[in-house]
C-alpha cells in the first residue's frame, strides 16, 4: 500500500514538473520579434554621428507583396514586405536599442544577412562602429560586409526584381559573384581576421545603385580596399580578379582573347584555379613567387576558323596566361599605389621567415611598394564544348 502511494506521488511530481519545464522567463514569442535582414551604416549630418538603417521583414506582406513595387520607391506604404527603420546617434548599439521607440517589436538580429557601410563612413574608419556586430551575441560572423557607393539607406530601399527583400537580394548578389570572380565575397569573420592582422588589409565588395529612368537596380562592382579600418581606394572588376587570382579565390569567370592567327575573339571560361604564394628573401631583397594554375574551356568563338588543333589550343593557353598576368599586374599596381597589402604578402613572409619578419613589419609600409613579384602562370584548356569547329558554311 505504501509502495503504491509512493508510486502515485512520483507520477504526480513528474506531471507537476512538466509545468515549469516549458519556462517563460526570457521567452520571445515569434509575433513580438522583428527579424532584421539587413543593416546599413551611413554618415549622419552632424560630425561623428551615424545613421543606422535596419531592414525588418513584414512576414504578413511576404506572401502578397509584388516582387517589385513600382508605385513608390520608399518603404512602408503597405505593399512592401520590408520596413526600413532609420535613426541617428553616436554609437551603433545604442541606436539599435533606441529603435524600440519606433518599433513595437523587438529587433532580432541572428538572421541578419548583410552589413552595408557607406563609402564616406568607411573612409573615416569603421572599427568603432562594427564592434557591436562582433561583440553582441545575437549577431553572427557569417554576415556579409558590403561597402556602398551611395547611401546605405537608399541601397536598402531599391526593390529588387526577383527577391522580395532588398537585403536578401544584396546578400545573394554578392554570393553569386563567383560566376565572374570580379567581386569578392567577404564575411564579417574574414573582415576582422584581416583587420586584426598588422599588415594584411581588409577588402569588401563595392555596390551602387544604377538607374535607368525610373528603374533602379543594385549592382556589384569591384572591391573596396581598406588600410587598417579606413577605406583608401578601390579596385575595378578586372583588378579585383587579379587580386582573387593571388589569394586563391577565383571560382570562375570569362576571359576574352583574340584568336592568334585569324579573325574574331574566343571566350574562355575559367573552371578551376589554384594559386600558391612563396616568398623568397635573398640578401635583403624580397621576391614573392606566385604559381597559378588555371583550367578553362572554350565557351564561344566569334570567328570562323577551326581553333581546336593542338597548335591553336597551345597558343590560346598562352594568350590566356598573358591575360591573367595583365590582370594580376593591374591589381598589384593599384595596391602598391594605395600602399595597402591586400594580398597578404606580409603574412606569407611571416609564415616562412618569422625572424626576418620582426624587422620587416616595422617598415612594411616602405617595403611593400617596392616588392617584386614573379608570376608563373600555367593554363590548360580542357574542353572545346559541344562542338569542335564552329558552325559555318562549308568552304570550298
Amino acid at each position: 500500500m505504501k509502495n503504491r502511494m509512493g508510486f502515485i506521488l512520483e507520477i504526480i511530481i513528474c506531471f507537476m514538473l512538466i509545468l515549469p519545464i516549458s519556462g517563460c522567463w526570457s521567452r520571445h514569442e515569434l509575433n513580438s520579434l522583428s527579424f532584421v535582414v539587413g543593416v546599413g551604416l551611413d554618415k549622419a549630418e552632424k560630425p561623428g554621428e551615424i545613421q543606422l538603417t535596419t531592414q525588418v521583414v513584414k512576414p504578413g506582406e511576404l506572401k502578397s507583396a509584388s516582387a517589385k513595387n513600382k508605385s513608390s520607391g520608399s518603404g512602408g506604404n503597405g505593399t512592401n514586405a520590408y520596413w526600413n527603420i532609420k535613426r541617428t546617434g553616436y554609437v551603433a548599439s545604442k541606436i539599435i536599442r533606441d529603435f524600440s521607440h519606433e518599433s513595437s517589436h523587438r529587433l532580432y538580429f541572428p538572421h541578419n544577412q548583410v552589413l552595408i557601410i557607406e563609402r564616406k563612413l568607411a573612409e573615416e574608419g569603421i572599427q568603432k562602429y562594427i564592434d557591436t556586430f562582433i561583440r553582441d551575441n545575437e549577431t553572427r560572423f557569417n554576415v556579409l560586409i558590403v561597402v556602398s557607393e551611395d547611401r546605405a539607406n537608399e541601397v536598402l530601399d531599391v526593390s529588387p526584381e526577383l527577391e522580395k527583400l532588398p537585403a536578401i537580394n544584396i546578400a545573394k548578389l554578392v554570393e553569386t559573384q563567383n560566376v565572374t570572380s570580379e567581386s569578392p565575397t567577404v564575411r564579417l569573420i574574414d573582415f576582422i581576421r584581416r583587420l586584426m592582422n598588422k599588415t594584411t588589409a581588409p577588402i569588401a565588395p563595392l555596390i551602387r545603385v544604377t538607374s535607368d529612368g525610373n528603374e533602379k537596380t543594385v549592382e556589384v562592382f569591384g572591391t573596396a580596399v581598406f588600410k587598417h579600418d579606413k577605406l583608401v581606394g578601390e579596385l575595378n572588376k578586372r583588378e579585383t580578379r587579379g587580386l582573387l587570382w593571388v589569394i586563391n579565390k577565383v571560382k570562375g569567370g570569362m576571359i576574352d582573347v583574340a584568336v592568334p592567327s585569324g579573325d574574331g575573339t574566343v571566350s574562355l571560361e575559367i573552371m578551376r584555379a589554384k594559386s600558391k604564394m612563396t616568398p623568397v628573401i635573398q640578401d635583403d631583397t624580397i621576391l614573392i613567387k606566385l604559381d597559378i594554375k588555371a583550367e578553362g574551356i572554350i565557351n564561344s568563338q566569334s570567328g570562323s576558323e577551326d581553333i581546336t588543333s593542338p597548335v591553336h589550343v597551345a597558343s590560346l593557353e598562352k594568350e590566356l596566361s598573358a591575360e591573367i598576368r595583365k590582370e594580376i599586374i593591374a591589381a598589384l599596381k593599384t595596391a602598391k599605389d594605395l600602399n595597402s597589402d591586400i594580398f597578404g604578402f606580409g603574412e606569407s613572409i611571416y609564415w616562412k621567415y618569422p625572424s626576418e619578419w620582426k624587422k620587416l613589419k616595422m617598415k612594411w609600409d616602405e617595403v611593400f611598394p617596392d616588392i617584386e613579384v614573379a608570376l608563373n602562370i600555367d593554363t590548360t584548356l580542357r574542353s572545346t564544348g559541344n562542338i569542335s569547329a564552329p558552325a559555318v558554311p562549308a568552304k570550298e
Binding site: W25, S26, F141, I192
Partner: protein, 360 residues
C-alpha cells in the same frame, strides 16, 4: 567501514577520467591569449607533463590499497597534520566545483538565457549533481560512458563540418613562440584540465581491479587530451587570429557551420557538450568533497552531507566570478598556482611514505 558500496570497473574509470578532463577547456579558451595559434602544442605538452603526475597518484593509490586520499593523509602525516592537509584538500575540491559551476552558469546565461539570473542555472545544475552524488559513484561512472561517447561524437562531427572553413596557414609559422609563453601555456594546461584528476584518489578505492587502474587512468587522460586537441585545432584552423579575442572560440567556430543553409546554427551542440562534460566534472569534485568530509569526521554515511555541501558549492559559484573574461583571467593568473599546490603535494606524500616505509 565502507562509505561507498558501489564498485566501478576499470573501463568505467577510463570514461570517467576522459569526461572529467574534457570538462573545463571545452568551451572557454584558457590559453589562447598567451599561446595564440600554438595552443595545440601546449595541449600536447601539458598532456605529456601530466602523465608522470598521474603515475604518482596511481602509485600512491596502489601503495595503500582500498584507502582514499583522506585516509592516506592520516596514515602518512599523522592524525593532526593529516587532518589539516585533508581539510585543505576538501576546500580545494569544493572551490574547483564552485568555479566549474560558474562556467556553466555564465555560459548558459550569456549564450542562451541572458535574462535568467545565474543562481537559477547554478542551483538547477547543482541539484542534478547532488542527486547523482547521492546515488553514488556507480551511477556517475555509468552515465559518463554514454556522455563521453556523445562528446567525442559531437567534436568529430563539428570538426568534419568545418573542414571547408579551415585554413592550415593559421598554424604558421611553425614554432614562433617564446619559451616563457610556452612554459606558461604548458603550466596552465598541465594544472587546469589534466592534473585536476588528483580528485580521483577519492574514487580509486572503489575500482574493482586495482591493478588495471593505471592503464585506465592514463588511457582516460589520453582520450580527454586528444578530444581537447581536436577542439583546439578546429578553433585555430577556423578562426585564426580572431580566436585570441573570443570568450568562447568553440561556440564561435561552430556558429560558422553553414551547410547549404540547412545545417546551420549548431552552437547549441557545443553548449550541450559543455553541460554534460561539466556535469561529470562538477559531480566528481562534489563527490570528492562530500566523501572527504564524511571520512574526515568518521561518519557512517556521506548522504546527509550532500545537500549542505551542495549549498556551499552553489554559494561559491555565485561569489567567485561575475563575468567570463574574469574567469579566463583567473585561469591564466593565480589559478594554475593554486591548483598546482594540491596537485603536486601527493608527490611529497609518496616520498614521505617511502621514507617512513609505510604502510607497515
Amino acid at each position: 567501514m565502507r562509505l561507498e558500496r558501489g564498485i566501478i570497473s576499470s573501463s568505467q574509470l577510463t570514461f570517467l577520467v576522459a569526461g572529467y578532463v574534457q570538462g573545463s577547456v571545452m568551451v572557454v579558451a584558457i590559453t589562447n591569449i598567451i599561446t595564440k595559434q600554438y595552443t595545440w602544442l601546449v595541449v600536447l605538452s601539458g598532456l605529456a607533463a601530466s602523465i608522470p603526475l598521474a603515475m604518482v597518484y596511481i602509485a600512491l593509490a596502489r601503495k595503500f590499497p582500498g584507502k582514499d586520499l583522506i585516509q592516506i593523509n592520516r596514515i602518512v602525516y599523522g592524525p593532526y597534520l593529516g587532518k589539516l592537509v585533508s581539510a585543505l584538500y576538501i576546500w580545494f575540491f569544493c572551490s574547483i566545483a564552485g568555479f566549474m559551476l560558474t562556467y556553466v552558469g555564465e555560459i548558459i546565461k550569456y549564450y542562451m538565457m541572458p535574462e535568467t539570473p545565474k543562481y537559477a542555472i547554478c542551483i538547477l545544475f547543482a541539484c542534478i549533481c547532488a542527486w547523482t552524488v547521492r546515488n553514488g559513484i556507480e551511477v556517475l561512472a555509468r552515465t559518463s560512458v554514454i556522455f563521453v561517447m556523445i562528446i567525442i561524437f559531437v567534436i568529430l562531427i563539428t570538426f568534419f563540418l568545418l573542414l571547408k572553413d579551415m585554413q592550415l596557414t593559421n598554424f604558421l609559422p611553425f614554432f614562433d613562440l617564446s619559451l616563457k609563453d610556452f612554459i606558461q601555456g604548458t603550466h596552465v594546461m598541465l594544472t587546469l584540465p589534466f592534473s585536476e584528476i588528483v580528485v580521483f584518489l577519492m574514487v580509486m578505492p572503489y575500482v574493482n581491479k586495482g591493478v588495471e587502474a593505471k592503464k585506465s587512468v592514463i588511457l582516460g587522460l589520453i582520450i580527454g587530451g586528444v578530444s581537447i586537441l581536436i577542439d583546439t585545432v578546429r578553433n585555430t584552423a577556423v578562426l585564426g587570429v580572431t580566436s585570441t579575442i573570443m570568450v568562447s572560440p568553440s561556440i564561435e567556430s561552430v556558429r560558422l557551420i553553414d551547410l547549404a543553409e540547412i545545417i546551420t546554427r549548431l552552437e547549441m551542440l557545443v553548449i550541450t557538450l559543455l553541460l554534460i562534460a561539466m556535469f561529470i566534472k562538477v559531480s566528481v569534485m562534489y563527490y570528492g568533497s562530500v566523501l572527504g568530509i564524511a571520512r574526515l569526521f568518521n561518519l557512517r554515511s556521506y548522504r546527509p552531507l550532500v545537500l549542505p555541501i551542495g549549498s556551499i558549492i552553489v554559494s561559491l559559484s555565485i561569489l567567485s566570478f561575475t563575468y567570463l573574461a574574469q574567469n579566463v583571467g583567473f585561469a591564466t593568473g593565480t589559478g594554475p598556482f593554486f591548483t598546482l599546490t594540491f596537485e603536486f603535494s601527493p608527490v611529497i606524500t609518496l616520498l614521505i611514505a617511502k621514507i617512513r616505509k609505510l604502510p607497515k
